[in-house]
Symmetry: C2
């Protein structure tokens, strides 16, 4: 059954080892920030730095593995219609909104939405780090400059992650205009048994 | 007074706001992994993801700021003779050594050395994330592949960081052959008042 994450919001849920998470961009050009914890030990969590290191790549696609801070594989990408995601940047927060969008009223952002959604599993805020930013398109120029670009995802595009341990997962529909081409849209997800 | 971090080891110390840390590569082609915490609240710590986001760059040099997970500036780079550092990769650990150097006996790596050095300040292991890898040279190819290359630092080259809050700092002399061109060397540092 497909679940809907409303625009500019987030959710959290558990996945058992072997279950698959399908994340769909129903309308196109939307981003979903993903973070996860070992269900049995929240001191083990998703690590951008370990994942970039073991994959030896900034790019993630089918076959790529997402590692924990303890060097264990947490998720593997099984299928991916987009092949453009970001694993460099932390999710937007009230502070990043104030920095990047000084003329807008700040919103909780994906960071705040993850904090709120993961609170039911007693996850403290400071353990929420750099998310896997599904469908987020960050261009890297030859001099190392980063630029947030519109996602490449089209309506109906999806990615499927397989859990390789029991997980607590946080997932959002992006709140930051620059990341989703200023079209705040929902994200759909479902757990495939 | 200059202090020496012996090859393949690490240390930890406090810095007050306004103090400057000079890190010198005395022999050339060596890397020093740096991590830091707010002295008064260890739930606030260095964040690669926030720093990449606010600097809008993979490259760091004089004028770049290193941010915490709470979006506060922890350090600013005041002077930098090398201008090639890495802020993508987590420090090597027993697990990464086993992965990348399967024919060598694994060593604690910079991660293990930081864990040991920071224990005197009651920093738990899981709070040590992606370090600022001073002088580390990671090439990014147009397709996003990452390659660890010999550091560009020559004998005597240095970088100076200014603390913009009271800090607990961990600092190492790199243990991973690929990062330092298989020449395990010391790192020198001093606090400039």
């Amino acid at each position: 059954m497909s679940n809907v994450i409303k625009p500019r919001s987030g959710t959290a849920f558990k996945m058992k080892k072997g279950e698959r998470l399908k994340v769909t961009d129903p309308l196109g050009e939307q981003v979903a920030d993903l973070y996860c914890f070992n269900e049995h030990d929240i001191k083990e969590f998703l690590s951008s730095g370990r994942s970039l290191d073991y994959n030896e790549s900034l790019t993630f696609k089918s076959g790529s593995k997402l590692y924990s801070n303890q060097s264990n594989v947490m998720m593997e990408i099984i299928e991916d219609l987009v092949e453009e995601h970001d694993f460099l940047l932390t999710p937007c927060s009230v502070d990043t909104f104030t920095h990047f969008y000084p003329h807008e009223d700040p919103v909780p952002g994906c960071h705040g939405n993850l904090v709120n959604a993961l609170a039911k599993y007693d996850i403290p805020e400071h353990l929420i780090g750099t998310t896997f930013n599904t469908f987020m398109h960050v261009g890297v120029s030859p001099d190392g400059k980063l630029k947030v670009l519109p996602p490449k995802s089209k309506a109906g595009d999806y990615i499927i992650f397989e859990a390789t341990m029991d997980l607590i997962v946080g997932l959002t529909a992006c709140s930051a205009g620059e990341s989703n081409n200023f079209k705040y849209k929902p994200i759909n997800y479902e757990i495939l048994q």
